[in-house]
Subunit: 269 residues, 2 copies
């Protein structure tokens, strides 16, 4: 799940404040409780285009981050994003989470966000990460759960388009319902003191900016991203897809509501 937003609304000062408030609300939801001290070595595994990297660097300005990703292209974008934001405490490295190029106990802590959902064997990834974090160090995992999305007005058609996304992720070897199973996953991978907290992103008419950010720009935009695959692979017909997306957007109206739950796990090696 990406929290990235495009800037269709322009760059006026007022708009800048609105966007910052939105981003802050979601960032606080996910990152509250995560702070790393001075000189602490943190591995961010699967940084993608750096959406979480800038938040990590901002909240723990004296920690030393190593952010890896399998994609050179994503890493390049993450590097630009971090440079633009002016952070100097992140080094980037192309690496596969299953073949980590680090000595045992190279890191004090590991941070993984929106990565395990895409992996065919998330337990293997968690065991690999365990080898590079020192004993007593921590692992932090944040994942979504697309089955946690519900909204008002409730709509069968909207639920169907969400199910297409879940099915496609499963066909690709991933699991977009992974949030709810973080606890057993981490326990089985051998981590200790696993603590999972659900974190609900909720939007209603009292905060149109949040409805816009969460319901439309984050969730609906993500679902819309698989339109061609869903229709192309025959999971749904084009008319049903459009109707479902329309119903999903309806939840961002003044009298609509939307709920989505992220799961954050913290565990000890």
């Amino acid at each position: 799940m990406s929290l990235a937003m495009d800037y269709v609304h322009g760059y006026s000062a007022r708009e800048g404040i609105r966007l910052r408030d939105q981003a802050n609300a979601l960032a606080e939801l996910l990152h509250s409780g995560t702070r790393y001290g001075a000189g602490v070595r943190v591995l961010e595994a699967g940084c993608g285009t750096g959406a979480q990297t800038v938040l990590l660097a901002d909240r723990s300005p004296e920690a030393l981050f190593t952010s890896i990703d399998v994609s050179e292209r994503s890493l390049a974008e993450a590097g630009r994003r971090v440079e633009l934001a002016g952070y100097e405490n992140v080094r980037f490295l192309q690496a596969d989470i299953h073949r980590l190029p680090f000595e045992p106990s190279s890191f004090d802590h590991v941070f993984v966000c929106f990565v395990l959902e895409h992996l065919g064997d998330p337990a293997a990834a968690l065991r690999a990460l365990m080898t590079v974090v020192k004993p007593g160090g921590s692992l932090t995992v944040i994942e979504g759960d697309h089955g946690s999305a519900y909204f008002h007005p409730a709509s069968e058609r909207a639920s169907r388009v969400i199910q297409c996304l879940i099915d496609l992720q499963q066909l690709a070897g991933g699991d977009s319902l992974i949030g709810r199973r973080l606890y057993p996953l981490l326990v089985h991978a051998g981590y200790r003191d696993v603590q999972v907290t659900p974190r609900v992103a909720y939007a209603d008419g009292s905060r149109p900016d949040l409805a816009d950010a969460i319901t439309l720009k984050t969730f609906t935009a993500m679902v819309e991203g698989v339109a061609d695959q869903a229709v192309g692979q025959g999971l749904i017909d084009a008319a049903s897809w459009s109707a479902g997306i329309r119903d999903l957007k309806r939840a961002a109206d003044d009298d609509g509501t939307f709920c989505y739950t992220f799961f954050k796990a913290v565990a000890v090696r």
Copy 2:
């Protein structure tokens, strides 16, 4: 939804502590943020058998509660429960929420918990309550949302038995998905400054007592309560029902998880 629990585990001191911790966890989840001061007049509309009444009286010992219910039988049980717990700041009265026997502005605040989900016209009830609370007084509403229940291992069969409960409540004129629409409901009824917070009851293997309390004794027990109706009315066959309940209980195992979201709304007349 009832948070009542039966006492199949007996009454040993250790068991007593466990049960108190469970009840506290759920009570805190629902009641945090709700406190009424000395001499403040509060109407609890639809007190049922008093499960929330004792929590209200305990947390606001100097407030003056008037707890009403349409059922004389429930009121009698609520009265016994409050008396047994030793609270003296509650008076009980048989009354219909749609025909309240109170003068305008008789109360400083109104509290409604697990009531609107059962009503055919919750908006009318909210408007009726508005007449008896003074201008500037508050309304607090807590409701569940059965569509917010999900679990690991995910199970189609378990989802089907939950859907039976949702369907039966709808056939009876209620709405067990009401949590997600509290915001528009209160706004349309004319309340001001409506603020809704989702409150997630989450259980995993780190807290077997919570899995027992939430997954089994609260949620699954509630679903099981409509077994005869669901099968009798032909919504599901007996074998599928049993399989669904088995899968739901499976979520309370050490490697299972369960999530349910309550919605709490606070608004001003």
